[in-house]
Symmetry: C2
Subunit: 243 residues, 2 copies
DNA sequence: CGGGACATTGAAACGTCTCAAACGATGTGG
DNA sequence: CCACATCGTTTGAGACGTTTCAATGTCCCG
């Protein structure tokens, strides 16, 4: 038991990186959870180890849990009547997902890679948050982060040119993981191109051509499947900013 | 003073309508703020009465306040290098706005109609929320609501057909205000068509043609400027769902 | 009454979507 | 171990719808 608890701690259950509503240098800048708070979450949550491409819940199904990513990548998506699938977001370590409306999940959720997630019942989480304002503040921060990501996604999807969308996506991923990433210019793409196309609101064909264009312009290289290497970040950024 | 306090109460400072993370029928379903909590906000906030088309803050400017809409309509937007303006959201009574990142506002904010807003300093609000978990929960609900709206907006903007986007927008407004609206089928459009086009990621010309198409199909009538009358909601909804 | 922002309509250009086909990698079962 | 099926990916050609540019019309407010 002790060894297991230690391993869970090492997973950095909810690690906070972003500042939400607060201005820079605010007195109450959110930090990581205290060990006591992590233990509270762990006690309330189920720890799930799931394989890649596993459905965690389906859209419109009854919503009873909030999820926290401990390891791996999860996508939330929405299937449309036409058969198209729009990716709502990719969720990485420390992100939360499980947005509900009227007691049902707005999107579906599927693992992209093998993952470890914490599944917390809504009612228990709510009770915890009602009694621990600091704990709740961490989740407020998380939701705000999701809100920012959703707005940026809209900005991406509103562009007309496919290559520009992909450029913004790659830069977004790079910015998201530049702290942990070993090689700065290498961006891991654990998701398939179909998923990326769904996120960028493109057809897979347009997605493929966009990647070819970025490679042709020497902004990015795709040395192997699942990896993008940003060759000229400055020019890529300039290209991406040309909205 | 007493009369003024009473009037403010009548404005329903933060009225809660949506359920955020909680499933339907959850034990801790969020309700309106208590009178004591409202008074806390009022004491911490400045009450601003502003005319239409007034800038509340500019994008990328230092962020020190969160705003709550007491009356009127506010738009948050983002100006792009190309000169285009994308509307991030329209904010109505009870909504909050003032999303920041790294101490700066992500979007700009301008009043669409004459409005009354509460302007709360971030640090004071944070202090309040750290001491009052129930109060904080209201704001968590609000941010979650914004997140849902942002995702729905992305869904709208991802469509290819202009008329379908406009149809979804009209139905969204109708759903948002059907409780308070007197005539059910009449949807108030306080914003200009330029703003709607910016929200739907359309050119004004495409917006105009979309409105003409909805009118030609007898789904909607536009009896006068600033009003849309939904004639056949069932067929309009069917048309909007055809993604 | 005039200025200016808002709104509509037309015609051409642009870029993605769609359909179709073929290739490669993956994983399964015979 | 190989054959097969499936999924993911790429490339080509035409259709579709918005964007763009241009011009005119409309409404509101000072």
């Amino acid at each position: 038991m002790r060894a297991r608890a230690r391993r869970q701690t090492a997973e950095r259950l909810p690690s906070i990186a972003a500042v939400p509503f607060l201005p820079a240098g605010a007195p109450f800048a959110p930090t990581a959870l205290t060990e006591a708070q992590r233990q509270l979450i762990r006690d309330a949550a189920a720890r799930l180890r799931v394989r890649a491409r596993t459905t965690l819940y389906e859209q419109e199904s009854p919503a009873n849990w909030l999820f926290v990513v401990a390891e791996g990548v999860i996508k939330t998506f929405r299937d449309l009547p036409s058969g198209k699938r729009r990716i709502a977001a990719f969720h990485f370590q420390g992100d939360i997902f499980g947005l509900a409306r009227r007691g049902r999940y707005v999107n579906g959720a599927v693992t992209v890679t093998p993952a470890i997630v914490y599944r917390v019942p809504f009612d228990r989480l709510t009770t915890l948050m009602r009694h621990d304002a600091d704990l709740q503040f961490v989740f407020l921060t998380k939701v705000t982060q999701q809100l920012r990501a959703a707005q940026r996604r809209t900005l991406i999807a509103s562009r007309r040119d496919a290559a520009g969308r992909l450029a913004m996506f790659l830069l977004m991923l790079r910015q998201r993981h530049e702290v942990e990433g070993r090689e700065p210019s290498a961006v891991q793409l654990p998701m398939t191109r179909v998923d990326i196309a769904g996120y960028l609101c493109l057809s897979v064909e347009a997605m493929s051509r966009a990647a070819a264009e970025l490679a042709r312009r020497r902004f990015v290289e795709f040395p192997s499947s699942g990896v993008a290497r940003i060759v000229d970040e400055k020019r890529l950024a300039k290209f991406a900013a040309d909205i």
